[in-house]
Amino acid sequence: MIIGASVLEDVARAFLQGLPPGTVYALVALGFVLTYKTSGVFNLAFGAQAYVSAVMFFKTRVEWEWPVLPALVLSVFVMAPLIGVVLELLVFRHLRNSSAISKLVVTIGLAVALPSLAEIFMGFETQSGRTPEGVLDQGASVFYDPFGIYAFSRNELVAMGVAVVAMVGLGALFRFSALGLQMRAVVESARMTELAGIAADRVSASAWALSSLFAGVAGVLIAPRFNTLSAADFFHLGVVAIAAAVVGGLTSLPKAMGAGIGLGVLIAEINTFLPRFAESRAWLRPIQDNLTPAIPFLVLFGVMVFVPAIRRSRDASDPLGGVDPPPMSIGSVVRTRQQVLVRAAVTAVLTVVVLGVVLGRADQSWMYLVTQAVVLATIFLSITLITGIAGQISLCQGAFAATGAFTVYQLVERYDLSALPAAFIGAGIAAALGALLSMPVRRLGGIWTAIATLAFAYFFDSVVLNLPFVGGGETSLLTGTSVPRPLVGPFDLADDQAFLVFCVLVLAVVSVVVVNLRSGTLGRTLLALQGSELGSQSIGISPARSRMLAFAVSAAIAGFGGGLLAMQQEDVNYASNFSPFVALVWMVIVVSIGCRSVGGALQAAGAFVLFEPVILKGALFGWLFRDPERIPDFFPISGKWVLVLFGLGTIMYARHPEGMAEYGAHRKAAKAERRRRAAEDRATAVAVDVEVAR
């Protein structure tokens, strides 16, 4: 009897313990649902918006020592809605007829750009020791213990109270107010709502103001949970909370709230009881260590695979969408055979010249950067394949690349294999992983592929990475994850120049493979599927098979590239090379420069690695003036501008999915065509004049 009572008490204590983190998940999940309901956008930038307000609040409270009220008013009630309105005005208003995928990509771009932009303008750096404060005085140090078994801090109580009030208030807004109804109507069809005499633009601006305000509230309430304010943590939290939002089908506020709290409680209960079971059962112990971080992703995958209603919520299009002009055709520029040859020749000559200069003149650090760009270009080609050709947004290319890198590390470390065959094995394992992942994902389509791959990336980050046979466990903490460079025949790739030449050759081969795949059966099948899944099936194309192949090949390319990157740096360097947030930035840069062409991937890699040292640090000016001393004073510019520029570049993607590079080529081709026609017209006119003169 006594044992029973103590178990019950433990259950209750774990329940209470799970409430505060559950509330945090619930707040973010409510935010996802709110934005999705009021704007039709699955807003992955929600965490970023919350982060911006949290930073502002930190700045005003801690650094400028403002009182709570003005700090709160500025960071939450003024700045947050303002950001929402600006986003609506400049970005989302113009994307109403874009596909759900394009909108999602834009929010990912914003998730990358917004925090950097805020940090630049507020002069904020993520540093340990900068512990955020709650809204109440001594919020983290004064406790209340209502039931005598678990004590809540003031901050936690405020967060829980606000979450409940928000859920009830927002629920009432949707159910009883005209504005709530109008917001939902605008999401369904902006044009139709306008015909009913409602200013759709104003309604959607207020929708964005509202959801952004809520992001601000959530940001300030959530911040005290972290020891250090960092955008990556906020984004990670957002990914965890997606599980709760998805349980509510992205539309139910109470379900999202319940699922968020349930998630927190579930984790707390498991943390309380699993160690007791595992104590006497040795086989449970490795599971115990990794179960907690895995739970949100297991829930998310479970819901996506087993709840059929999710699949049906494909993006609905505005029934009056046809009123607006259709989006521009996004096919690549049609080039004549001669143009193709000329371009190939120019590329080859340029490559040789640049390679010659780098091999002959560059010092070690520039050689390192150029090599890194070449290796990343190989990885980026995997994005060209999966996003540009197969039309799927995959956010776990970093995990695939890391799989390749860790395979090389493990095989070299344990079996003394040469790094090169190990890289091929790594590519194979990544391919198997990609094929496996494509199975639950392939039926979902649309934004769900992006969400599932994002969840996988974080699952890899928080669970798989910790397994000893992947990340190396404790050994790697002591000795690092070093990867030696291999010997290839007579060439020792430990020599930087030889390694660079080797990487260029690999890049050339992978480029040819991607071009061949695109013009071959697989590429044309995937383009057909992207154009119309139903139409493709009607001629006998199996979407599952084609997508699985695309995922596998893309993962293999990423995996091989990951192995190369580890060889280049002679270390896996997971956190700086392959973490989920880094992979987001890859996707954002490739997509904004051009994910449909091989050239786009190469330029993106160049931009990713070299934009900061060459442009922002002013090296380009140094070269132009042939004197490093004469670099103008306003250099170096913050490296965060790379994230801001390319993050905002995704807005271009939504309007011109072919990317900046190809869009430029389009415009040039159109201009040339106009000029040719004008010349023809003039010639005809002259001919007619001559005729008349006769």
Binding site: P326, S329, I330, G331, V512, V513, V515, N516, L517, S519, G520, T521, L522, G523, R524, T525, L527, A528, Q530, G531, S532, L534, G535, S536, Q537, S538, I539, G540, I541, S542, P543, L549
Partner: protein, 256 residues
């Protein structure tokens, strides 16, 4: 004559509401059959059940002597069921020729991954020749290099027919081909279709609202109402029967 398609006892419920109850139909080889009925009768649902787009709650679909009830859409397509769509389902950003070439590649099944890798996956001369044949047949040869975004609705419908023809179907399902087209365009489409069908001898199952088109194009028709097949027979008789008048045409004037 043997039946190329037999659907029998098809039952389909959506959230407990029966959209189809024990519906069945059959199409003989080379036959042109119509499927008509008022809005909401279940025509499209029956169509989707035959194609495997929607899973069925009961009944069987036999195609070309083989039970295809549990086959996927693409498997049925490869077995020889071609179709067009009421709402155009062409491949965005592809040219007219691309549509036919990929359909031919899927049909002849010569696509291999290793061929793609080695750059041998591009369209072959033989495939281009077949595509050109179909383009000529449908009078689309001028438009071969045009992206589909530049086509008119009528041309889109023709291209959908062309894409389906590339798969060499034994049965072609046409889903309201006249919707969105005017009289002249509909007549032109019907003429082209009849010509091609007589040349190649495949069967056609036509779902259609346009009574004139059904009358002139099909030899036999089924009438669907509230999920039941209420009438079946030679088209002229079916259209004149009282059952059809009351169920489908209501008070509409039907010139006989």
């Amino acid at each position: 004559m043997t039946a190329v398609l037999v659907a029998s006892g098809i039952t389909k419920k959506f959230a407990g509401i029966a959209a189809l109850i024990d519906a069945g139909l059959s199409v003989e080889e080379g036959e042109r059959v119509g499927l008509i009925g008022p809005n909401g009768a279940g025509k499209t649902t029956l169509f989707n059940c035959i194609l495997g787009v929607t899973p069925i709650d009961g009944g069987t679909v036999t195609f070309d002597g083989r039970d295809v009830t549990s086959d996927r859409v693409d498997q049925r397509a490869r077995a020889g069921i071609g179709r067009t769509f009421q709402r155009i389902e062409l491949f965005a950003d592809s040219t007219v020729l691309d549509h036919l070439l990929i359909a031919e590649r899927v049909r002849n099944g010569s696509g291999r991954f290793w061929k793609d890798l080695l750059g041998l996956g591009r369209p072959t001369a033989a495939e281009r020749e077949r595509a050109d044949e179909v383009l000529t047949l449908l009078g689309l040869e001028e438009l071969a290099a045009e992206p589909v975004e530049r086509l008119s609705l009528g041309q889109c419908r023709l291209l959908e027919v062309g894409r389906a023809l590339m798969t060499q179907p034994k049965l072609l399902l046409l889903d309201e081909p006249s919707s969105g087209l005017d009289r002249v365009e509909t007549a032109a489409l019907a003429a082209t279709l009849r010509e091609v069908q007589q040349q190649q001898g495949f069967a056609i199952l036509l779902v259609e609202h346009d009574v004139d088109l059904v009358r002139s194009f099909t030899t036999r028709s089924y009438v669907l109402d509230f999920g039941h097949i209420v009438s079946e027979g030679p088209t002229a008789e079916v259209l004149a029967s009282d059952v059809v008048r009351s169920a489908y045409l209501g008070d509409m004037e039907v010139p006989t």
